[in-house]
């Protein structure tokens, strides 16, 4: 993959869960694109750091538990957009249900994961700004990366 801009990237949601948490499992799901996404944001796994300072020698740093992170996309509110309506449903959901998400890059590469939406606050800022939604989606599964075809 050569370097590219983010222009053309998409974020999509599905209420279904994959039979297997791999490319094939996610590919079998039906996703609904979320419209009017301005930014998707940074996402990916990071590890907790466990430090150990031996009496002799350099401080050691070990990888602890893994956290697959979260995304906080920035979205212009559109009450007619199906993807936003589904995302709002996931935010209103008081159960522990996992929703499936798909990020598609301009070259066709995809990132799949499941998560829970912990909120979808709306932002009415200045007169010359768009009404925005800023959902917070916590990623609860390993991110499945599918390269461009």
């Amino acid at each position: 993959m050569t370097s590219q801009t983010a222009a053309g990237s998409t974020l999509a949601i599905s209420v279904a869960s994959p039979a297997t948490k791999d490319a094939a499992g996610y590919a079998a799901l039906t996703f609904t694109d979320i419209g009017q996404v301005e930014k998707i944001g940074a996402f990916g796994a990071s590890f907790a750091k466990t430090e150990f300072q031996p009496l002799k020698g350099a401080k050691q740093k070990y990888k602890g538990s893994k956290d697959n992170g979260a995304i906080q996309p920035s979205i212009a509110l559109d009450s007619n957009d199906a993807g936003q309506a589904i995302l709002q449903t996931s935010a209103d959901d008081e159960s522990q249900k996992l929703y499936s998400f798909r990020v598609t890059y301009p070259d066709g590469a995809k990132r799949f994961f499941q998560g829970r939406t912990f909120g979808m606050p709306e932002n009415a800022d200045g007169a010359d700004t768009m009404l925005m939604a800023n959902p917070s989606i916590e990623i609860c599964t390993d991110i499945v990366k599918v390269p461009a075809a």
Partner: protein, 65 residues
């Protein structure tokens, strides 16, 4: 089996747009959706399944004489 199989007849509860397919669904419209699309739209309260109509009562009543 992909969940894009098996069409479901549904009624659109309110007008909405699907950004991915760039399709507008008009409120009150009867449509056919894949199982996966139906599940997504139904969860958001956008569509409901059209129940299969019950067969008409074909028995005739005897007139009282």
């Amino acid at each position: 089996m992909a969940d894009t199989d098996n069409k479901i007849r549904a009624k659109v509860l309110r007008t909405f747009n699907d950004a991915g397919s760039e399709t507008t669904f008009t409120g009150g419209q009867d449509i056919e959706l894949s199982k996966g699309d139906f599940a997504n739209y139904q969860a958001a309260g956008l569509v409901v399944a059209i129940e299969t109509a019950e067969p008409a009562d074909t028995q005739t009543r005897k007139p009282r004489g």
